[in-house]
């Protein structure tokens, strides 16, 4: 028998679960808002567009010569030859190449912007080795001129990550590369969150230097494990709370913990792990760590030694995001090989990604992929342009959990498209027009489509 009318929110649940049993008086159910800073992104003005006679690299592993792409209301509707759409804006792309919008899975634009002044160094909350409670989106400066420079290089989607000073650095955010006054105005709608972790030298150097844990790699591992133990307990407490509430009881909700919200989100599979991790033995341990705590170890970033464990990465479903040639800046970056990406890519069911981690090379991820393509070919790998484009489009989309939305030229996908003046794997190639959700956001020959940061406006 109910003595009080329960609050509106839970009425339905209470009635449904109470049946004819006597239930306690229930307080309002505590439900954590998982999206408190929702995307307000709106595509720029869209046009029905037909690009004709281009060499297409679809991102699905195909190259189609003299082919067309049609997009309508922000979606790709047709890819093929001799398409007809009378009322569409037509772009004759004879001699040009067309690819999906380029995706960078690892950027610090906005959190370490240009100019690199102390006032804007907001990418690394190095006050505790585990800061899963911080969200990169709360640091992004949307006026970073680097966003425009990246757009001129065909970048349509990018993940902004916290830095690698901490074992667990916080949440990343995936953005549409469009100008906006707010970060919310750039957030990729319905993109899963990422969570940054870091192996190896950085965290142990940052904290070891202060004589606090971790100061060793074993200290690193202990730090992650302690965090995941807490997260597992936190998750159980919430599950218990939810179950008891469902059963008509009036349990006390667990004390909210921002860091553990994020970590338990990873265990729930809602938040994807992005792990700065260079070395073979560390990636191998991080894979086991994921198994120990029932989450997937995600994408390994800067995976310099991925080539040593390429089979394991493919078997376990890990993407590896790599540079083509960075090396030597740290001991963990000493064993670089120029064929790293090609070796990872050659394994069945692999997910090789080329990333930038740089405000400079993000402007030319096509060139970064090109280095791998040709060094790989020289070493006997059977790879072509239509394969290499996947490292900066479809595979990157997979790493970010966006495969259903972007990363390829296929009917139904978001119309994220780049028109290049020629083969994008040439050093002389340039993006001429860039589209995000079917809206032109950049045109090399039309100043109307060249955005400029507030910061640069009026500087003499």
């Amino acid at each position: 028998m109910r003595k009080f009318v329960p609050p509106l929110l839970v009425t339905a649940i209470s009635i449904a679960t109470s049946g004819c049993f006597e239930v306690e008086q229930q307080d309002a159910k505590v439900i954590i808002n998982k999206n408190p800073y929702p995307s307000t992104y709106q595509p720029l003005p869209q046009q029905k567009t037909l690009i004709t006679n281009a060499t297409l690299l679809t991102g699905t592993g195909e190259r189609i010569d003299e082919a067309d792409v049609l997009f309508v209301d922000g979606k790709i509707t047709q890819v093929g030859k001799a398409l007809v759409a009378d009322d569409a804006t037509k772009i004759d792309a004879q001699g040009k190449w067309v690819t999906p919008g380029i995706i960078d899975v690892h950027s610090h634009l906005g959190v370490y912007p240009s100019p690199s002044v102390e006032s804007h160094a907001d990418g690394n909350e190095m006050t505790n080795p585990v800061t899963a409670q911080v969200w990169a989106e709360h640091s992004v400066w949307p006026q970073d001129p680097g966003f425009q420079a990246a757009r001129a290089g065909g970048i349509t989607t990018l993940q902004i990550l916290p830095g690698s000073g901490n074992l667990i650095g916080g949440r990343g955010v995936t953005l549409r590369n469009v100008p906006s006054e707010s970060v919310q105005g750039m957030k990729f709608p319905d993109a899963p969150y990422g969570m940054k972790m870091a192996c190896g030298e950085n965290p142990k150097r940052v904290y070891g230097g202060r004589k606090v844990a971790p100061s060793t790699r074993m200290g690193n591992m202990a730090g992650y494990r302690e965090a995941w133990i807490k997260a597992s307990e936190y998750k159980r407490e919430w599950e218990k709370y939810n179950a008891e509430y469902e059963a008509g009881k009036n349990p006390t909700p667990p004390k909210r913990d921002l860091a553990l919200d994020t970590l338990s989100g990873v265990i729930d599979g809602e938040i994807l792990v992005h792990n700065h991790c260079y070395k073979a033995e560390e990636m191998t341990q991080m894979i086991d760590l994921g198994k120990e705590f029932n989450y997937h170890s995600g994408t390994f970033h800067h995976a310099i030694e991925a080539y040593k464990i390429a089979d394991l990465l493919a078997d376990n479903g890990n993407c590896a995001a790599m540079w083509p040639d960075w090396w030597g800046f740290k001991m963990e970056a000493y064993d670089m090989v120029q064929e790293n990406v090609a070796i990872v890519n050659a394994v069945k069911n692999s997910c090789a990604v080329v990333h930038s981690d740089s405000d400079t090379t993000i402007q030319r991820l096509n060139q970064e992929a090109s280095k791998v393509l040709f060094r790989g070919q020289e070493s006997g790998f059977d790879i072509k342009e239509e394969d290499a484009i996947r490292w900066i489009t479809a595979n990157a989309a997979k790493s970010l959990g966006l495969s259903d939305k972007t990363g390829s030229l296929e009917a139904g996908k978001n119309a994220d498209v780049v028109i290049w003046n020629g083969n994008p794997f040439s050093v002389y190639a340039k993006a001429e027009q860039v589209f995000v959700d079917g809206a032109k956001v950049y045109d090399r020959f039309d100043e109307k489509y060249q955005a400029k940061s507030d910061f640069l406006l009026g500087q003499k």
């Binding site: 090989v337 064929e339 070796i343």
Partner: protein, 415 residues
Amino acid sequence: MKLFKSSLLAMALTSITSVAHAQSVAISNATIYTSTSQGVLTNATLVVDNGKITSINPATVSADITIDAQGKVLTPGFIGTMNTLGLVEVSAVAGSRDASEKKADMTFDPSMAFNPLSTAIAYARKGGITTNVVVPQGGESIFKGQAFVVNLTGNMDSVIGNQTALLVSLGAKKEGSRAFDLQELFNKFDDAQQALNKAKTKADKNKEDSDKEPKRDEKIINAVLAGTMPLLAEADRASDLLALIKLKQKFGLDVIIAGGADAVLVAKELSEAKIPVLIDAMRNLPGSFDSLHTSLESAAMLTKAGVKVVLSAGGAHNLYQLRFDAGNAVSNGLSKEQAINAVTKNVADVFNLASGSIAVGKNADLVLWSGDPFEFSSKVEKMWIDGEEQSTQSRHDKLRDRYMTKSTMPKAYTK
């Protein structure tokens, strides 16, 4: 002639085996980018003997070995600048770093620390780099020390020149005012000039040379004052560049600017003052308030204004990318020949090197490319330093081969 101890190197040297210096080499049917007023020569033949280029398109070719270039591009070896190659093996490993020293001042000459066995050297050869101007990172002083020149043979005698230039670092500071540094710089030369004048007056009066030996730092400043050692000045902001023009004019120095992010704003003045500029072709973001005007077109704009431009990139490890930087400079306005000059002849002009162009009498530092030297799709087919063929194999290739070799035993057994 050095004998190669490494079997890998020996294997790679298929055309020249054991007596390179004694043997003359002719490269025929090449497309030669001379980096001289001769421009590009097609179907050309070049003869190398005793480490030097001895003839171009001779009436009759006589050489111990002839290589048919099959029309491929032959360029002077590319020349790196403004990096710490051979001074740093792993940047974050203190024991492998010799580019900086807290107490370093203008007397700091890091050439003695150069390690010809650094793995970064063979790697840099993959980019067709044959010569490099290494710079110190110095310490607290605005004077960072002295640049020196190396070849990329990896041989123990790689250092081919030291005291090449005095490096000074100017502009934005973490603390304090840039004006203080500029004053220090001007005062240094002013004081030295006055001391020299005084010594001269005294000597004239006594009709004999002053027996007072200048101190080590005074000797360096005097060499810069005499124009025998260039002043290599790192600066970005236009106002700093104008101050350097003044410095040059006041004391008659040989000034080279490195960085030069906002040089485009004073391109005419730099051109008139005949000050060359070393820039990073890929630097196009406003990284600081000193560099709000740098762009991918900077190299082309400066060249157009008549400034001698050198393309350079820092670090110790990825010098091999210089050719791609040059390619990007071409897609942003430089001509191909200008871009090749910017990594060969211009560097040699600025630092007085005996390489950097394909002309009789020059060092035989040459690269034969499989295609366009600036393209990702091309690679170094053959390269020579002082007429000796070089391998482009590095430790990285050994690692790759190990992990691409199938074996039932652990990889550690694959060598």
